[in-house]
């Protein structure tokens, strides 16, 4: 048993909890980033060849950056439309 899995587990559950419970959209985005990082750590510890996990991490970092940029753009548009980034105010998807 690799103890680093515990770290990744904690990171993932923290991220999931934040993403599900927080009402501030930016904090939700932060939670999603945490889950990304948990996935990255999983890649790192379960690599079969040296360097494989690190390569995946570089990809994940790139994707996470792109995701953060998209997320922030969405939040900006959300704010423009609802003048709030509280997720309980944005319930048009009924």
């Amino acid at each position: 048993m690799n103890w680093t899995y515990i770290l990744s587990l904690i990171l993932f559950s923290t991220g999931l909890y934040i993403a599900l419970s927080r009402r501030n959209a930016i904090v939700v985005l932060m939670g999603i980033e945490l889950m990304f990082n948990a996935a990255a750590i999983n890649f790192l510890i379960s690599e079969t060849e040296p360097g494989e996990g690190q390569t995946m991490i570089l990809f994940i970092l790139g994707i996470a950056a792109a995701e953060a940029a998209t997320g922030m753009a969405i939040i900006l548009n959300l704010f423009e439309r609802f003048s709030s980034i509280d997720t309980s105010d944005t319930t048009l998807l009924k």
Binding site: L16, A19, L20, S21, V28, P50, G51, Q54, T55, L58, T87, S88, T90, T91, L92, L93, K94
Partner: protein
């Protein structure tokens, strides 16, 4: 490598880098204790840097490298490597001592409790990343810290985030730095991938100049990469606006330490450059020196005047680097750090305490400051020492560095291209300009005698102490025994001449200090007396040119405007095409459903109606309950849907594992 006893002491853990980081962790303490803990860690960092400095007195050319393995992918290896040598240790010492002084100053300057913690966080983050940058050896880790430094500068410029102008100033600084950083990153990538060089220490041994393939582009990329951070010529416009941040941060970051990171980078990259690149670097530096000096003359806000003066002095440092005499560049970096920091801290005190009530609050115009009677002479002495050091009058520290820069330029001018002569003349001219704006600064802050002052006036000692220390350290006596740097080991202003005098231009080398001192003194007197007149009558257009910074900012915003016009034009075109497609779809829809005369929505409505008739009434109760249930489920919050999908996923997971 040193002897084993020294080597065992030089563990990575003693590097001053880590202490500001520890200070950041201790920011979780209650805010009344925070300033003491942060000051304590800054002091420890200062002591650690002093400890490393004293090593170089016993072993002048000591250097050590540590590699911490970081990224190791097949074919690409990047270590987190730290390197310790005399240059990095000396600059780290400057960073630590200036940070400590600014820390003391800001204890009193940042008065509100809520802002204090934020300020300490930014300040310690800056100190950590700056020290990391100085000790970094590998390009990747250097670039990481380089970006961190830029980021903490961004944070500190936008410190008063409720003001609009400080936000836009922070954005401006960030964008200017990003342009430059892209070039730097490109240069580093070329070096790593093509040249197989991944750290600064391999650079000096690699014989880089001979490989023509790389040297055709990489040096230019690296030159541009260092320009914005040091606010050098085409990318200088952010620094005057960066004064929107709190004054102690301006003193630390935008005068003494961060802006010198570009100079430090160029010193490290000297092995890359050949003569032609050095000429370009020197011209950029000399031009910035002239430009900054000229723009400083027209300013009426003292902080902006100092910002332009910083651009000018950084230009001088770049010139010194371009003569491949890095010692004089570092000495100027050191002396400049103290006198410019002192001047900024003085400006901060003046803006807080000496402003007359009658004048407009927002504008730091002429004769706005009135020194209270009990501080008048004390402040005159402090400011005079700092200003004379800035102009480079003998017996001040500024003289040592400025003279050594001029002498090494003279040596170049005698031996190489005629372009060096132009650089030399431009630099001499910037000495004159320095004198003029220094005189003007003194006039702005000191001349007004008749304004209302309150007697029994007390400035907190925490604000005065750093200024006093800075001005004492601007006297030359403290720097004459600076023998860490080798050649300039006993820099008294006469013995300096004996060391650096090149044999061919002997007669000039004796005349030069006299000329430059006369220029500086003359400029100082002219600057002080001519500011007296409301305007220089015949030179009106020069002053407008100076205030508007040669219209370079206007040029940039003009370019921006052209691009934004172009993109909005394209945007309109795009929208029209897009709308055209939408209409096309509608036409298509109507063509399909024309035969049976139904649109999609009409079909849907019809289905709803029939369903309403079919459902018997005794089901309606169940339907209502179901409706309420579904209403809870379908509440429109994405998070609820996500929550259910997580539960569903977990159930599926359980089902598979059963």
């Amino acid at each position: 490598m040193g002897d084993p006893q020294v080597h065992s002491l030089l563990k990575l853990i003693y590097l001053p880098v880590w202490f500001p980081l520890a200070g950041i962790i201790f920011l979780v303490l209650p805010s009344s204790v925070v300033k003491y803990s942060s000051l304590f860690f800054q002091l420890v960092a200062l002591i650690a840097s002093l400890f490393f400095i004293q090593l170089f007195y016993t072993q002048p050319y000591f250097s050590a490298t540590w590699n911490i393995p970081w990224i190791d992918i097949i074919g690409f290896k990047a270590d987190f490597s730290f390197r310790l040598d005399n240059i990095s240790c000396l600059i780290a010492f400057i960073v630590c001592i200036i940070s400590f002084l600014v820390g003391i100053y800001s204890c009193s300057y940042i008065s509100s409790k809520s802002e204090q913690k934020k300020f300490w966080l930014f300040l310690l983050l800056f100190q950590f990343s700056m020290l990391g940058l100085l000790f970094s050896n590998a390009f990747i880790s250097f670039f990481l810290f380089w970006e961190l430094v830029g980021f903490s500068s961004f944070l500190l410029i936008g410190f008063y985030n409720s003001k609009k102008e400080s936000g836009s100033a922070a954005m401006k600084a960030f964008i200017f730095n990003k342009i430059s950083d892209l070039f730097l990153l490109a240069g580093f990538i070329f070096l790593i991938v093509k040249g197989d060089i991944n750290s600064f220490d391999k650079l000096s041994t690699s014989g880089f100049i001979n490989s023509s393939e790389l040297s055709s582009i990489v040096p230019y990329l690296l030159i541009v990469g260092g320009l914005a951070k040091s606010a050098q010529f085409p990318l200088q416009g952010w620094l005057p606006h960066a004064m929107a941040g709190p004054t102690p941060a301006s003193a630390l970051i935008h005068a003494a330490t961060m802006v010198t990171a570009g100079v430090y980078l160029q010193i490290r990259l000297l092995p890359v450059y050949s003569d032609i690149h050095l000429i370009i670097l020197g011209m950029a530096g000399a031009f910035s020196a002239i430009w900054g000096g000229f723009c400083a003359i027209g300013q009426v806000e003292i902080k902006k005047l100092l910002a332009f003066s910083t651009i000018s002095q950084l230009g001088l440092m770049m010139v010194a680097v371009s003569t491949s005499n890095e010692t004089s560049a570092i000495v100027h970096l050191l002396t400049h750090a103290f006198f410019k920091c002192g001047l900024f801290l003085t400006a901060g005190i003046a803006l807080h305490y000496f402003i007359t009530k009658s004048s407009n609050e927002n504008e730091q115009s002429y004769s706005k400051f009135v020194l209270p009677k009990n501080y008048r002479t004390k402040f005159l002495i402090l400011i005079l020492i700092l200003l004379l050091s800035l102009t480079g009058i003998p017996f001040t520290s500024g003289y040592i560095s400025k003279e050594s820069i001029l002498l090494s330029l003279l040596e170049k001018a005698g031996t190489y291209d005629s372009i060096w002569t132009i650089t030399f003349i431009l630099t001499l001219l910037s000495v004159l300009l320095t004198g003029i704006y220094s005189g003007r600064f003194l006039y702005l802050i000191y001349s007004n005698k008749n304004g209302e002052t309150t007697s029994n006036f007390k400035i907190p000692f925490q604000l005065l102490l750093p200024v006093i220390i800075c001005s004492v350290l601007s006297l030359s006596v403290f720097w004459t025994g600076l023998h860490i740097l080798g050649e300039l080991d006993s820099v008294w202003f006469i013995s300096l001449l004996n060391i650096s005098v090149p044999s061919e231009s002997g007669i000039f080398a004796i005349i030069l200090p006299i000329i430059s001192t006369l220029l500086a003194v003359g400029g100082f007197i002219v600057g002080y007396t001519l500011t007296n007149r409301p305007r220089f009558e015949n030179l009106e257009y020069l002053i407008t040119l100076s205030i508007n910074q040669f219209y370079i900012d206007r040029l940039y915003s003009g370019i921006y405007r052209i691009f934004s016009k172009l993109s909005s034009f394209i945007n309109i075109q795009d929208k029209q095409i897009y709308i055209g497609f939408i209409y096309l779809e509608k036409i298509y829809d109507s063509l399909i459903y024309k035969e049976n005369n139904y649109s999609i929505s009409a079909i849907a409505r019809k289905m709803e109606d029939t369903a309403g008739n079919i459902i018997p009434s005794f089901f309606s109760g169940i339907a209502l309950i179901g409706n309420a249930f579904i209403r809870i489920l379908q509440n429109g919050k994405i998070q609820t849907y996500l929550y259910f999908s997580v539960i569903l996923f977990l159930l599926l997971f359980l089902l598979i594992n059963l």
